[in-house]
């Protein structure tokens, strides 16, 4: 957010008495937004909750005495107790550890797919908006056509047909990743390959809206004097797009990115529920909730804990996105609102 070509060009306003230790700075969009975001208590709480969940997902499987895939068939499913805070599933696996292990996968899917969608969407939208005319027409027409695809269905088809053990993609995954991680060639690594496939597939379906948003922003920005100035100084196309246009379009991009994460997590959960996402013995919040939904009447806790965690996370991401929208879009603070 620090790259604000037009904001940085203005001399900072002189204020008589600044608080001690604080450097004299103008109110940039970023600092303004940050202040507004911190004042929004729901958004701050959401950020804290998400951070806590993320840290717990990393730490709990490391420090717990149980392993996420250690079964105890003699024990079976027991309700929450001192030994197992969230109880165990039908195979006697500790639900707390499985939940936070699943958190790693759910967060990873959400974040990685969002990065993919962010990268494709931003480059696509910015290129279309910046060059305009025929390039714009062709690129946006492609987006329009892709929009009408029943994409989730394509993902299911791809998943069922291509992400199979010993298939072409699986072998390719084994030989490329195998260079860095030797175990990737083992058949037992197959579930991991499947998750990677989910990442990629979900990233590839969610960049369309991002492309539209970025294009709209760039269309209005590119007529501004500072872009003209950059162009007359002989700055290249790529540099104008990535150094000047995109940083200034960052507000809506950040908001939409924040809202993409929960959407992706929800889609991963949906795929896992259909048996197409995360596979045993790995776990994600979606696969845990799906397993719990099957055993709802006998051991309800196996549904309630994962479902509540998933809902809490989505709730927090959505609130954070809303908070960011309010913070980054000064227009919402005008008039009656």
């Amino acid at each position: 957010m620090s790259a604000q070509p037009n904001a940085g060009a203005k001399p900072p306003p002189r204020v008589g008495s600044l608080p001690e230790g604080e450097p004299a700075r103008g109110a940039t969009l970023a600092s303004d937004a940050w202040r507004r975001l911190r004042k929004n208590r729901t958004a701050t709480a959401s950020a804290v909750v998400l951070l806590a969940l993320l840290v717990a997902s990393i730490l709990v499987p490391m420090v717990s005495s149980y392993r996420y895939d250690a079964t105890d068939l003699a024990l079976g499913a027991v309700p929450p107790s001192w030994a197992h805070w969230m109880g165990t599933d039908a195979m006697g696996r500790d639900l707390l550890v499985r939940l936070f292990f699943g958190g790693r996968i759910s967060f990873a899917v959400g974040l990685v797919a969002t990065v993919i969608s962010f990268t494709i969407g931003c480059s696509w939208g910015a290129t279309a908006g910046y060059f305009g005319k025929t390039v714009d027409a062709v690129m946006m027409r492609i987006v329009d056509v892709l929009y009408t695809f029943p994409f989730l269905i394509l993902v299911i088809v791809l998943q069922v047909f291509f992400a199979n053990q010993g298939g072409v993609l699986h072998r390719a995954f084994g030989s490329t990743v195998g260079v860095f991680i030797p175990e990737a060639r083992e058949p037992s690594y197959f579930p991991v390959f499947q998750i990677v496939f989910v990442f990629a597939a979900l990233g590839c379906i969610s960049w369309l809206t991002m492309a539209r948003i970025v294009r709209g922003q760039v269309l209005t920005l590119r007529e501004q004097p500072f872009i003209e100035a950059a162009r007359s100084l002989g700055v290249g196309h790529a540099a104008i797009i990535f150094r000047h246009l995109l940083p200034n379009a960052l507000g809506p991009i950040i908001v939409y990115t924040t809202l993409t994460v929960p959407e992706i997590m929800l889609t991963e959960a949906f795929l896992s529920f259909l048996g197409l996402g995360t596979q045993e013995p790995l776990s994600s919040w979606g696969s845990l909730a799906a397993a719990g939904a099957d055993a709802l009447d006998v051991h309800p806790w196996t549904l309630l804990f994962p479902a509540a965690t998933l809902a809490l996370t989505l709730f927090a991401f959505n609130h954070l996105g809303d908070g960011l929208r309010d913070a980054l879009d000064p227009q919402t603070h005008e008039g009656r609102s």
Binding site: P150, L296, L314, N318, H319, R336
Partner: protein, 307 residues
């Protein structure tokens, strides 16, 4: 306006054709075939089966045959359900899915729009925050969690409603709730956003200055523009409902199209997958076109952009 509509319709056919072609070749290129299940089929029988269903033909031949069948409206036979055609299977399951989807959409609109209007009219009061918190919960709870919870409470604990199946109206209540409520949350948020923006605009101020009653202002003037975001959501929303019904149909054991789809994809049921993709794609694209037309009708600025 007519030219606009015609142009949108003209785009339908090529888009659908691209989708269908892409899915067709994806399916055929994928490893495995419809007959390599758990039980190994003898080589002789396999060859006979492949001959019967023309699976041994060269790919381009199969593709031409498929397109020719499509033009005649014939989607071909089912591999797993012998004696059944894809047309029959879709004719059987599509009405169930559409019924569920339409009722869920009606519920979503009936709950979401008033909730959103209420939020906008009582902006920044406790009514607003309460209705938006409810809506946020609705967005954050996935259908496959909502559905079992509804079953747990209303069927297994209270014994009010049946657990599954699709027979009388009593069977329909829980699936429609599970499918519709998450969408109603999205609609409520969209309505509120759209209404808030419209209520700030100049023509509403003019209407107020003329001394029109609050009721007339809302119903006659604000709703038309305020509901635009909802209108543009209807297309993707309905397709979302159809995809979401994959889950709901599975949980409630409803004989709709979604239930067949996952099964068909895992069994390499080429024809059935193609048929269902075609139907879903067709519904989605038709709805998107209708939405665009409705949008152009509600908001004259869109038509001006098209020139």
């Amino acid at each position: 306006m007519i030219r606009f509509v015609l142009r949108r319709i003209a785009w339908l056919v090529p888009t659908l054709w691209v989708t269908v072609t892409l899915v067709f070749f994806l399916l055929r290129l994928a490893p495995g075939g419809p007959f390599d299940g758990e039980r190994a089929v003898p080589a002789e029988a396999l060859r006979a089966l492949e001959m019967k269903y023309h699976l041994a033909d060269p790919l381009w031949r199969q593709y031409v045959d498929f397109l020719a069948g499509l033009l005649r409206g014939d989607l071909g036979p089912c591999f797993r359900y012998p004696g059944r055609t894809v047309n029959e299977l879709i004719a059987m399951s599509l009405p169930v899915s559409m019924h569920l989807g339409a009722m869920a959409m009606a519920l979503a609109l009936a709950v979401g729009v008033p909730l959103g209007i209420l939020g906008a009219l009582r902006h920044n009061t406790w009514v607003d925050s309460a209705s938006m918190t409810v809506a946020m919960f609705g967005i954050s709870i996935p259908r496959f969690v909502l559905a079992p919870l509804l079953v747990l409470v209303f069927s297994l604990k209270l014994y009010w409603l049946p657990v599954a199946r699709w027979e009388s109206w009593r069977h329909m209540i829980l699936p429609v709730l599970a499918a519709g409520l998450p969408s109603s949350a999205t609609i409520a948020r969209l309505t509120r956003g759209g209404m808030l923006e419209i209520l700030k605009s100049d023509f509403i101020r003019t209407a107020r200055a003329k001394g029109l009653s609050e009721r007339t202002i809302i119903v006659r003037h604000a709703l038309r523009g305020g509901l635009l975001p909802v209108v543009s959501y209807l297309g993707p929303g309905f397709s979302g409902l159809l995809v979401g019904s994959l889950v709901v149909e599975r949980i409630f054991n409803i004989p709709g199209m979604g239930r067949y789809f996952v099964e068909a994809a895992s069994n390499r049921e080429y024809n059935l997958v193609m048929g269902i993709t075609l139907v879903y794609g067709g519904i989605l694209m038709t709805l998107n076109t209708l939405v665009d037309v409705a949008y152009a009708w509600l908001d004259p600025r869109v038509r001006l952009d098209e020139k």
